[in-house]
């Protein structure tokens, strides 16, 4: 199986879907002539032309709104946000228009839009460019939220997201774009709402999404090598729909869980899952469910401090050891 980057995997997904369905269009700032701010859409404009790959002004509210409107009329727009941080100026379009139009129209109108782009800290670009809004988005009934951690998942999930008939928020990471991973050449799809056990284990379940999955995997490796603790890593892949089955199956096996996310702690994804575990796995827990997240502050500009703000494998190991 060839190894390609996470960035290429997304590009391949876009290209395959652009090829497969003429209603698929890619819209965003610098996605066409400049080949994308992070070069995800490189070569697509040359290959598919002006009508399918569309540059926009710096105006998220306007172009996301346009994409929502286009999707209501039957297109399948894939909107690129240079950073998910900029979604805040298009909040009304994302939530009230895309998220609720099916409900507000009594099911007459649906909105098959994908909004994608990087949503991560850790790159020293400051508080206003480092948002991780998956928890905010997942709080909206009507929005689907996907956070792939690997090239394989990014491709399979994006293709499914584009084919989905409802709005899907697709959160990537600039830190993952260059990561290589095995991706089959033949077509495949990964359904939304199916978590993936990235590493099998018996003593504790580490639950993560996006970049935190890699942190969890590294921690699991060290736990096995240095502490003889066998950690299972569950990659949520999609936050909503949430694969409760896989989480519960794992926790019922290991009886312990640590939730890891690069998001801020307050009302984070981990809070939602730990509440679910309390309700559905209480009698299976042999220790309190613990959470690890970014330190509760705006993303710190100083790279040295920001590196400490985000969860590291050592943080995971310390939490695991406190309950194992």
């Amino acid at each position: 199986m060839p190894e390609i980057t996470y960035r290429e995997a997304i590009r391949h997904a876009l290209a395959e879907e652009l090829e497969r369905d003429e209603n698929v269009v890619v819209i965003g700032e610098e996605v066409a002539e400049y080949d994308g701010a992070y070069k995800v859409t490189e070569g697509l404009w040359k290959r598919f032309g002006d009508k399918r790959i569309v540059d926009t002004p710096i105006s998220e509210a306007a172009f996301i709104g346009m994409g929502v409107g286009a999707s209501m009329l039957g297109l399948r727009p894939v909107m690129e946000l240079m950073f998910w941080s900029f979604a805040t100026v298009a909040w009304d379009q994302i939530i009230n228009n895309a998220g609720f139009v099916r409900y507000m129209s009594g099911g007459l109108i649906n909105c098959p839009i994908v909004i994608r782009g990087p949503a991560n800290g850790g790159t020293g670009v400051g508080a206003t460019h480092s948002h991780t809004p998956e928890n905010m988005l997942a709080n909206i009934p009507g929005l689907k939220v996907v956070c792939p951690a690997t090239a394989y998942d990014a491709k399979g999930l994006l293709k499914t997201a584009i084919r989905d008939n409802d709005p899907v928020m697709f959160l990537e990471s600039t830190l993952l774009y260059g990561n290589l991973g095995e991706v089959p050449t033949e077509e495949y799809l990964i359904p939304l709402g199916v978590a993936d056990v990235k590493r099998e284990g018996t003593d504790i379940t580490l639950i993560a999404h996006g970049g935190a999955v890699l942190t969890a995997l590294k921690a699991a490796e060290l736990l096995a090598a240095e502490h003889d603790i066998s950690a299972e890593v569950v990659d949520l892949r999609s936050i909503r729909p949430l694969d409760e089955e896989t989480i519960l199956k794992s926790v019922r096996k290991t009886h312990r869980a640590v939730l890891i996310e690069e998001n801020k702690p307050f009302c984070g994804v981990g809070a939602q899952i730990s509440s679910m575990l309390m309700q559905k796995a209480f009698d299976d827990l042999d220790a309190p469910v613990l959470r690890i997240s970014a330190i509760d502050a705006p993303a710190i500009y100083s790279p040295h401090l920001e590196a400490k703000q985000l969860p590291r494998p050592t943080d995971v190991i310390a939490k695991v050891l406190s309950i194992c």
Binding site: D283, L285, D286, A287, S322, I323
Partner: protein, 431 residues
């Protein structure tokens, strides 16, 4: 502010206490530190001090009443206060004791009644206890609780090894069959003789004293959860008797007190434990605790039971220091004046029944220790001498009961060999 006085927990094994005497009358003024009552615990009678200033408004229990730790026994009011309407709140006190005496008498068959009487609470069979005997809430993970229920393990007997002493699944997995009550419904066996013959004419039913209850519980736990094994030796006490005579003659001449045979044996037990430290240990679920100090418990028979006061850091003490502290501790044990810390934290116990003419025996381990040494009487016996001649020997029988989870047979034997060496060449222990 109205402050209730509650039965204090005066020792680690105390679950209930008897109010022996009120030292303050109703209406008396009370200051912090005043002695307000005398409380009999399982081990001693102790003075109870006031924690609040005010007027002792009410005795909620009468002298001679036994109540569980934490129950209200009196009420102190501040100036100008009146008693709260819910004041008398002793209803929950010691239901076991109140019900127990009546039932067996009316029962046709003793067994069911005895079981009923011994059931700690009239709870539904499946309900797991939430408190230990000492009233402390049991910290247990939900999964461990479920597991314990499935396996029928009484969680109040399980030691938790999780954070903060929480019982976790591994503790339930490793709980020995001894900690398993046959069915969750089965009565706690501590006070339940299987077939107590109903009291007939002339028979007496003697309620358990606090001490008797603790002895029953601890020794039952020991004998049912610790895999005992027993070793016995007979040693030549001649040299020891000779040395003792010399030491005491010198001591007497100097106006000192006499060293007893038991003091010598204790010194030898300690010295041998230093040589074979593996016996100075405890089993603790997933680990063995190896003690740095030999804290020697000496079994002392008292009026209605026994106590085991501790000679701390005994390996650092001379023969005379051991002799003196044992004399002091035993004296105060008999008059019930030991402080709790004086009978807690022992690591090895010695029980000596020599003065009763017992030649040898095997004692029950004093948990959580791994070993108890049973000392018999020095008896004159014919022994085969070095040239196969029969000579009159002075023989001492010594038994060792050990926890096989901690001490193996060979280690126990090695320990007894060291002990023999010290007793048969007693000058070694004076070095």
């Amino acid at each position: 502010m109205a402050n209730y006085i509650v039965m204090p927990k005066l020792s680690d094994t105390m679950t209930e206490g008897t109010l022996v005497k009120w030292r303050k009358k109703e209406g008396d003024k009370v200051e912090v530190g005043d002695v307000i009552a005398e409380i009999e615990t399982d081990k001693a009678t102790m003075e109870m001090e006031a924690f609040d200033d005010g007027i002792l408004n009410k005795h909620l229990i009468q002298e001679g009443t036994k109540v569980l730790v934490g129950n209200r026994i009196g009420l102190i009011l501040g100036k100008g206060e009146s008693a709260p309407v819910d004041a008398p709140a002793v209803a929950a006190a010691a239901p076991v004791d109140k019900e127990a005496p009546e039932k067996p008498a009316s029962a046709v068959n003793g067994a069911p009644a005895a079981q009923q009487a011994a059931a700690p609470r009239p709870s539904t069979p499946a309900a797991a206890p939430v408190q230990r005997n000492d009233g402390e809430r049991i910290r247990i993970s939900p999964f461990a609780r479920k597991l314990a229920q499935e396996k029928g393990i009484d969680i109040s007997t399980v030691t938790g090894t999780g954070p903060g002493g929480r019982i976790i699944a591994a503790d339930i997995e490793s709980a020995k069959p001894g900690a398993v009550s046959a069915a969750p419904a089965a009565a706690k066996p501590a006070a339940a003789p299987v077939a107590a013959t109903p009291a007939g004419a002339g028979d007496q039913r003697l309620p358990l004293s606090g001490m008797r209850r603790v002895i029953a519980e601890r020794l039952l736990t020991s004998k049912t959860t610790i895999p005992h094994f027993y070793l016995n030796i007979e040693v030549d006490a001649g040299p020891l008797m000779k040395l003792r005579a010399e030491v005491n003659a010198a001591s007497e001449a100097a106006g000192g007190t006499k060293i007893t045979v038991n003091d010598f044996v204790l010194k030898a037990v300690i010295a041998a434990a230093v040589k074979v430290p593996a016996v100075n240990a405890s089993f603790d679920g997933d680990a063995i605790i190896q003690y740095a100090n030999v804290n020697l418990c000496v079994a002392v028979a008292v009026e209605d039971g026994l106590v085991t006061p501790v000679v701390r850091e005994a390996q650092k003490k001379s023969l005379r220091e051991i002799s003196e502290s044992v004399k002091d501790l035993a004296g105060r044990a008999r008059s019930k004046k030991l402080k709790p810390e004086e009978y807690q934290g022992g690591t090895i116990t010695v029980s000596n029944l020599g003065s009763y003419g017992i030649e040898s025996f095997s004692a029950i381990i004093n948990p959580p220790q791994a070993m108890i040494v049973s000392v018999g009487a020095i008896v004159k016996k014919p022994v085969v001498g070095p040239n196969d001649q029969i000579i009159a020997g002075q023989r001492l029988g010594i038994g060792l009961s050990a926890d096989h989870r901690v001490v193996d047979g060979a280690v126990g034997a090695q320990y007894l060999a060291e002990l023999r060496k010290f007793i048969e060449s007693p000058t070694l222990m004076l070095l």
